[in-house]
Every structure is written in structure tokens, then in C-alpha cells.
């Protein structure tokens, strides 16, 4: 199978890179071993919320310079301030062309609402989610918070209490109607996605609109879990039109309906641009010639290899098995690239689960063009993007999505420049 570029990993980084390459006339194949972490997304993408020294970031573009000293291997440092600003500035348009509509700016973080009701800084937020300008108040005085009766992955009381602290009055309401009763027969499957499937049906949207309208009282906005619009993208629009009130969809515990829809939308954009997406396959090994990978073999395709000029490794971190940890070692299992880690396991962790965990910064070593290193030497046609990279802590620094997107765009540029 001949392609211009083969991308290993089909999450945010892989898809971003793939879409970018396809748009510039390349023919790419993405091989993805299972669905990606977008399935647990909050509905927002973070760029840089916090520096390693703990200082909060308001303007990521300005703050990125300071990473040089604090985290010299950080992917953003490799990009440099100018490139960082240029790429970050292009993302809203990039996503919108792919059918994913987001708002936000790289020069000023805004705030998203968490499932706990708190406000957390972020970069881009999907249009149907709420992007708040300020971190200490909500844009409403009074909100009606709805939840589906018996839906355990959304906590109205938590949210209401936090909203109160932010000066917003709340009333709590329940959504309960017959189309959902059937789901309830199953003790586990009252999940966000299955509820969303119910609301993908027109007649149920109308019914939901009635419930919301009846219950909203004199509230200026309605907040409800993000359980609307899995297959359809216009559910929220329909609801808002029918109810006549701004409706804020708040993230739930996994699975994340907005995240899944974003993933599906990006995949569709990639495929519509002519890309080939192979799900549920794993790359097993590669043939090398000098400093190049010539062929890549996968589980499903056995003796028919993928042949491509360039290879992008975007396999994710530990969760996605882009990195594998053994008791005294961390390695990259697909191509065996060099990985930055410390051997002593005691140093991997902080015993406080909410403190920075050092293992989060482990990852694949690259040069400044994001070529992967093998035994210390850069491979000329192998690029690395996304969470598998070394040098950053996606959780503490709030930069996971940003690293994925920007490194993927940068890698695509490098490939296209050849």
C-alpha cells in the first residue's frame, strides 16, 4: 500500500497532521489502534494554563518564552515563540474548515465550566459549550440546571454550589420522560452517549424542548449535561430555538459526547479530503534503510506493508500505549525510538495524587524539527507529534491539546517543505 505519509495514531495529533497533509495534496494513511483520548474530552482544548513553576498563564503566547528556562525540552520551546504564535493563530480557521467550530484565542485564555461546576482556563472551546471570559464569574445571574433523572455522570448539586460561589443563582430541575425509561432497564448503559442517541431523534428533541421550557422559570440560561447531538449537529440549535433561551451544555464524566463528535468530524474531514483511516490496527514493526524507515508492517495487513516517504508517530502517551512503562523502564513500543525517563521508579511519582507526577514528562526524544531519535541519531523521515513527546506535563501545565495540535501542524509543514 503506497502513501505519501503514514501516520501512526489517529487521535487529535494524528488527525490534525493528516488533514493538513491531505489539504496540501498528499495521500496519507492513518493507522489507529483503537479510539482516541478525544472520547474523554472536556469539550475544550488547552494551550498553556500554567508554567512548570506553578505560575498561572493568562496569555500563552507571552508565556511560552519562559518555558525555555523551566522546561527546555518542551515541544513549544522547540517550536519557538514565533512559530508557536503563527501555528496557534491558525487553528480556529483550520478546525472550522474541518467542520469543528471553536472559539478562543492564543493570546488570552478564557474559562470553561468543569463537570464540578468550577471554572478552568482554556484555549479553544467547542461552540456549543460555554466559553466564559472571566475566571471569577459566569455570564448569567440565574441559571436553571437540568439533569436526566438517574444519570450518574453529572452532578447538579456540585455545579449549583460552585455557581453560587460565582454569584449565580441556580434552580435545579430533572428531565425524565418515557423515551429514557427503556434505557433505565440496563443498570450500566444510562451513559451520556446512549442518552444522546435518544435525543438524536427529532420527536424526543421536541419533547425535551417542552420540558426545558416548562422548567426554566425566569432563568436567563439553562445548563444541562452535554448529552445532545451525537449523530446530529443541530440538536442544540433546535433546542435553543424552541425554548428561546441560551442553553449551556456542560461536560460529563466519560464518555464525552462533544469529544466523540469532534473526533468523528475530524475523521470525516480527513477522509473527505481523500485520506485513509484504518481503525483497530496496530503497527508491529518497520523496515529501515540507513536513517529512513522504508516500510511499515501492521497486524491486520500482515505481509502487505505500508510504503510511504514519511512516517509520523502520533501514538499518544501511556494511556494510548504510545509509551509503555515497565517496573524500571519506559519505552516506545512501535518503532523503539529513544525515550527520556529516569530509571528509579521512586522518582516517577509524587505520593500526592494531585501533585505533578514526573512520569507525565517522560516521552520520545526528538530534534528541533521533531525527527524521532534512534540511538541518539535523528531518523530523517520519521516525525513525532502529540502526547508521545517528551518534556511537558499535559495535566499540570494544561497544554495537552495544544502540544498535539501544534506539533502535528509543525510536522506537516516539515513534511511538505521537502
Amino acid at each position: 500500500m503506497k502513501f505519501d505519509t503514514i501516520i501512526i495514531g489517529g487521535g487529535l495529533a494524528g488527525l490534525t497532521c493528516g488533514i493538513s497533509l491531505q489539504r496540501h495534496g498528499q495521500r496519507c494513511c492513518i493507522v489507529s489502534s483503537g479510539q482516541s483520548a478525544l472520547h474523554f474530552s472536556s469539550g475544550s482544548f488547552d494551550l498553556l494554563n500554567c508554567l512548570p513553576d506553578g505560575k498561572e498563564v493568562e496569555n500563552p503566547v507571552e508565556a511560552v518564552e519562559r518555558l525555555k528556562l523551566q522546561a527546555p525540552e518542551h515541544p513549544y520551546v522547540k517550536l519557538g515563540k514565533e512559530k508557536f504564535e503563527e501555528l496557534a493563530g491558525s487553528v480556529v480557521e483550520f478546525f472550522s474548515q474541518a467542520g469543528v467550530s471553536v472559539t478562543g484565542s492564543a493570546c488570552k485564555n478564557h474559562f470553561r465550566i468543569t463537570p464540578m461546576g468550577t471554572l478552568k482556563p482554556t484555549w479553544l472551546t467547542l461552540s456549543e459549550q460555554v466559553a466564559c471570559e472571566h475566571g471569577d464569574r459566569l455570564p448569567w445571574k440565574k441559571v436553571a440546571i437540568f439533569n436526566v433523572t438517574g444519570f450518574l455522570d453529572f452532578y447538579t448539586q456540585f455545579i449549583a454550589d460552585e455557581f453560587h460561589k460565582l454569584g449565580t443563582e441556580c434552580v435545579l430541575r430533572e428531565i425524565s420522560f418515557p423515551a429514557l425509561e427503556r434505557l433505565r432497564k440496563n443498570p450500566t448503559e444510562m451513559r451520556s452517549v446512549n442518552i444522546a442517541r435518544v435525543f438524536d431523534k427529532r420527536e424526543n428533541v421536541d419533547e425535551l424542548a417542552r420540558v426545558l421550557k416548562d422548567g426554566r422559570g425566569n432563568c436567563e440560561a439553562i445548563a444541562m449535561p452535554a448529552i445532545a447531538g451525537l449523530a446530529r449537529t443541530d440538536v442544540l440549535e433546535c433546542l435553543e430555538r424552541e425554548v428561546g433561551t441560551r442553553i449551556a451544555l456542560l461536560p460529563t464524566l466519560p464518555p464525552s459526547v462533544p469529544g466523540i463528535r469532534a473526533q468523528q468530524q475530524l475523521r470525516r474531514a480527513f477522509e473527505q479530503a481523500g485520506g485513509v483511516y484504518m481503525l483497530g490496527d496496530s503497527v508491529l514493526r518497520a523496515d529501515m534503510e540507513g536513517d529512513r524507515i522504508t516500510k511499515v508492517y501492521s497486524y491486520n495487513h500482515g505481509n502487505i506493508p505500508f510504503v510511504a516517504r514519511d512516517v509520523v508517530l502520533a501514538t499518544g502517551s501511556f494511556f494510548s500505549q504510545g509509551l509503555v512503562a515497565l517496573p524500571g523502564k519506559v519505552y516506545e513500543p512501535v518503532l523503539g525510538l529513544d525515550v527520556e525517563f529516569v530509571e528509579n521508579r521512586k522518582e516517577w511519582y509524587d505520593m500526592n495524587v494531585f501533585a505533578a507526577q514526573r512520569y507525565e514528562t517522560f516521552g520520545v526524544k526528538t530534534d528541533n524539527e521533531f525527527h524521532g531519535l534512534l540511538n541518539g541519531a535523528a531518523l530523517s523521515n520519521v516525525y513525532v507529534a502529540g502526547a508521545v513527546l517528551e518534556g511537558f506535563d499535559a495535566i499540570k501545565q494544561g497544554c495537552g491539546a495544544g502540544v498535539s495540535i501544534l506539533s502535528a501542524l509543525f510536522v506537516a509543514e516539515q513534511i511538505l517543505r521537502k
Binding site: 479510539q35 472520547h39 448503559e189 452517549v193 481503525l279 494511556f319
Partner: protein, 406 residues
Amino acid sequence: MNLQEHNVSDNNFEQCIKCTVCTVYCPVAAVNPDFPGPKQAGPDGERLRLKKNNFYDETLKYCLNCKRCEVACPSNVKIGDIIQAARIKYSEKKFKLRDFILANTDLVGTLSSPFAPVVNGVLGLRPTKAVLDSVLKIDHRRVFPKYAFGTFESWYKKNEAARQSSFPTQVSYFHGCYVNYNNPQLGKDLIKVMNALGVGVRLLDKEKCCGVALISNGFIEQAKKQAKMNIEAIRESVLAKNMPVIATSSTCAFTIRDEYPHLLSVDNADVREQVELATRYVYRLMARQGVKLKFKQNQKIRVAYHTPCHMEKLGWAYYSIELLKLIPNVELTVLDSQCCGIAGTYGFKKENYKTSQDIGESLFRQIEACDIDYVVTDCETCKWQIEMSTSKRCEHPISILAKALE
């Protein structure tokens, strides 16, 4: 210390980190609340069953073994295998005549095929359907595949066997029950395509039904027996005669390659790589050796490719799609990969009819919305389901290819 370097238990259910992705892609859980869902029925349930076997729940029978959970799983957990293996290990289901009939596709085919016109007529009659429904619990709304008058095997032996052995390169064809009893034309189409590529098509010395229906209906011993016989015949072909084995049915190919070792413990490691789908074989031949097919300048046809579940699992839809793209004047749409709901004999059962049709609904809608002449797919049961549930006809990619050849 390397003690824990591979801390992955048998059937790897502990790699599940409860991310819930599988529950998003289960076609059954989405429509039938009686099914516990892949996470619960699979890795979560397995842990409980290992504690005590009374945690086995008969509702696992609602799993249609589409393996879409496995394709979606970011942890490589063999969720479908875990569920099917649990059914094999723990189910104490009693023998049902209905399941026996549905499972023994080759036996029933052998009995029906000589009387095809009669059988087809009778199966289509309302009174027959009423009896099937009430006595056997085979849903009366189901349209049965037609039996052919005379089997593919007998046709082949009479008309083709000698000619095919004269080709310098030869492959063995695992035709499966469907081609043999219902649609010999597909077998003939395959011969046409392969011959055009300079390859002769032989049959295995002895072919039994791949056993997929036996497995899903719980006739495991019989399935094992047939699997062993098939693997013996495949070994004879691949190892002794140096002839790889190709199939036109994605489910037969998948069953022989993956279900034999995973569910029946029938080892196929020495021949697995040599069992593949016809479209993959053709693709490779054309890609690697530059062999070209000569096409007629046909009238333009519009087709939509449907990816069967087992094709999704194999990851081989690519080959069928690429072949279709080669045919001049074929306008191809690729449908969203989703389950049609039939899953072999699953949809024939009265208790599953609604689930089956509910699962397929979204696919049917997409098909009806397309302006196409045919749906194209590699799976015969998907074909039945699509033809029964939509207004479109459904063809195998090899048949489309054959029709386009000069």
C-alpha cells in the same frame, strides 16, 4: 526485574482501564437494554465469572459478535472474544431445534439445494413462515436467502475442474456455504476474475462449513471438528501444494483466521497468513506484480460500499474499495462503517428481530438516501439484510469486477 514485563493475563481483560469507549460503539447496547453492554458483559463480567461461575448471565447471547468493541478499544482488549468464550464456557443452554437448523448451514443446504425451486417457494409462503415463527421462533418477517438449483461444487467438478488445473499459478477457493448452496454465480465470477489474472481456481480437497453459525449457536464440539478438518485441508493446500487459500466471504475468512485459534483453540499459526480474501489477493497481485485487468467501457454505475463488521475487524475493506476504484465508470460512495444488524443467524431469531432491524436502521437510511445502483459488500448475510430492508440490490465486489471485465 522482569517478572511483570508482560503482566497480561489470558484473554487480556485486565488491560481494560474502564475508559467506556467500547460502550459507545456497541450496536446492540444502543438499541437493546437487555444486553449488559460490552464492558459489563466482557472484561467486567469476566472478573466476576472468575470469582464464581454463577455470575454468568444468559443475556450475553444478545452479543452479535460484531467485534466493533474490539476495533474501538484503545487497550487492545479482546472484548468480543471474552464474551463469546464466556458463552462457550458457561452457557448451559438447552438444545434447540431452531438453533440446530440455523447453525448447520451446510447440512440444510445439502438437503435443500436439490429441491431448490420447491424449497424457495415454500419458504416464501405465508403459512410456512407462520409455522417457522410459532414453532421454531424464526421470525416471520425475515426473507430467506434463495437456494440455488444444484451446488457450486457439483457445477465446478463437472465444468471447471480440469481447465483450472492447467493454470501455472493456482489458488484454493474456500467458497463457503453461501456460494455453494445459494449463490454459485459469485463462485463463477471469482473464477472469471482470477483466470483473467492468470490464476487458476481450485477447490480444497474437503471443505466443511467454516462453523461461524455453529459457534454462535453454541455447537462448539461440532464447530471444532469442522475447524480441524478445514485446517487440515488448508494445510494440504498451502503447505503441500503451495496454493494459498482465498475466500469471498469476509466472515468465513475471519472465522478461519481468528475465531479458530481464539474461540475453538484450533491452532492455525502455520497457515493463517495464507488464508485471505479474494479482493486482498487480487489487490496484492496487481500492486506488487503490476498485473493489469482489462475492463469493458461499461455504462456508468453508481455503487456504495458497505463495510461488514468482520471486514472492519480484519481491516481489509481498503482492498475491496481500491479494487472498485479501478473499474472505469464506477462511481463509488463509501458508506459509514456500521453494523447492518443481521450478524449471520442472529437476526433470523424471533427474539432478535427487532434488535436486528433497529441496529440496521441508520445504515438503511443512509443507503436509501444514496442515489446508487447497487450496494457492494463482501458479506453474504449483510447482503440478505440490506436487500430485505432497503430497496437496493447488493452485490459482491468480485461480481462487480467480473461484470466489468472484457
